[in-house]
């Protein structure tokens, strides 16, 4: 089948009986009805529970959108910027990067 987003061909993977179509172009994944639940169950069997994440710091304005590959605690989500702001100094390495090809 073709990816509905970028129209590249999708390849089928079978993992523990769950058919997963993945796009060869954008790496997007297509799941049939019930497959997400099946994967979630599989994951629950294999992944140990993790402690809940600490609550996000309150923010005056919603952060601008960021891509899925962005930094989990940066990229507009909340806090944790290496660059530093709000009166902090930028990391020296990033200061150099701002001016480099």
């Amino acid at each position: 089948m073709q990816c509905p987003k970028c129209h590249a061909p999708m390849h089928t993977y079978n993992r523990n009986g769950v058919q997963i179509e993945q796009c060869s172009g954008c790496r997007g994944i297509f799941l049939d009805y019930g497959e997400l639940e099946a994967l979630t169950q599989l994951e629950a069997q294999w992944v140990k529970p993790v402690p809940p994440a600490p609550p996000a710091a309150p923010q005056a304005y919603p952060a601008p959108p960021a891509p899925a590959w962005g930094a989990p605690h940066g990229g507009g989500h909340h806090g944790g910027h290496y660059g530093g702001h709000g009166g902090h100094h930028r990391h020296k390495s990033f200061g150099h990067m701002l001016f480099s090809s």
Binding site: Q22, Y82, S100
Partner: protein, 317 residues
């Protein structure tokens, strides 16, 4: 890697001669100052004149076209003093008026609005004649070539994510296919070192460095700040200022409102990979570990291709 001493000496002489036309070889009281000495360019300032020796192997016809474009757009690009490159040893040399750069010790004063507005104007400009492709993807590919060379002698655990993220990019972003969409006039290498005030010290901001100027995907010019923001390096406020100013100036690279990331995603991934590759190459050359900023770039590369890894290796079965 810096230029041979004879190039630096001759470049300094040319800068002085251009600053004081008709003055002859007699020495003047103003000193000369090297502004940059990198593999891709050597730049010397003398009084109000800057002479730039372009990278060895620079295409003369392409550079001439790019210079002509800069001369035609003095409200966006710093206009060159001469529109024909001069030859100096094996290098091509161009001459520019001096402009005051962004203070590297005060990047908080970065002119994000001015940068965005200049880019929007540039992207909306119809080129007067044929221009080569914007060189952004070619520069990214070059950074990856250098990384592979460095890895040939010294393997590194961060190399895997960077190389995988590179191969997951569409061919055009790796300079292996023509760029898609309606081509726009692009700068090709935007960062804070590419902005100067002219006349110094407080004239309007202008873009400098035409080496990568050309036709292509305009989102590439927004993608370095976008990548810094996505990697958690640039604060959201500064990213918002940049993107908002670009939209207000009618820039065509992103939709006027709504999520800009569908347009930014591929170039921002490419710039993240390029920056990570450069950082890793430097770390290998210096035999030092990655610092936390460099590691943030590698981590972002690793997050770009997590799914195939999980599908092929991570699941039990």
């Amino acid at each position: 890697m810096s230029a041979p001493p004879e190039v630096l000496t001759a470049l300094t002489a040319r800068a002085r001669a251009t600053a004081h036309p008709g003055a002859g070889p007699a020495s003047c009281s103003c000193g000369s100052m090297p502004l940059a000495d990198r593999p891709d360019a050597t730049v010397v300032r003398h009084a109000d004149t800057v002479a730039k020796a372009h990278a060895p192997g620079t295409d003369p016809a392409g550079l001439a076209r790019r210079l002509a474009m800069a001369a035609r757009l003095p409200d966006v690009l710093l206009p060159p003093l001469t529109v024909t490159p001069a030859a100096l040893h094996d290098r091509l040399v161009t001459f520019w008026p001096y402009g005051a750069p962004v203070d590297p010790d005060d990047p908080d004063a970065a002119p994000w609005e001015a940068a965005a507005t200049l880019l929007a104007r540039l992207h909306r400009t119809a080129p007067s004649g044929p221009l080569p492709p914007m060189r952004g993807p070619a520069k990214a590919a070059h950074a990856l070539t250098r990384l592979r060379t460095a890895l040939g002698t010294t393997p590194h655990p961060a190399a895997g994510p960077v190389l995988q993220a590179w191969h997951a990019l569409p061919a055009w972003a790796r300079a292996e296919a023509p760029m898609p969409g309606t081509p726009a006039l692009c700068h090709g290498d935007l960062h804070l070192g590419q902005l100067v005030r002219h006349p110094a010290p407080d004239g309007p901001w202008r873009l400098i460095d035409v080496d990568d100027l050309g036709m292509g995907v305009p989102a590439w010019d927004l993608a370095r700040p976008a990548a810094w923001y996505a990697c958690g390096l640039l604060p959201p406020e500064e990213w918002t200022r940049f993107l908002t100013a670009y939209r207000r100036a009618g820039g065509p690279a992103v939709p006027l409102d709504g999520d800009a990331w569908p347009a930014l995603d591929v170039p921002a991934r490419a710039l993240t990979v390029q920056t990570a590759a450069r950082a890793l190459t430097k770390a290998l050359a210096g035999d030092r570990p990655l610092d936390e900023v460099e590691q943030a770039l590698v981590d972002a590369c690793a997050r770009m291709t997590p799914v195939p890894h999980q599908l092929t290796h991570g699941f039990p079965g």
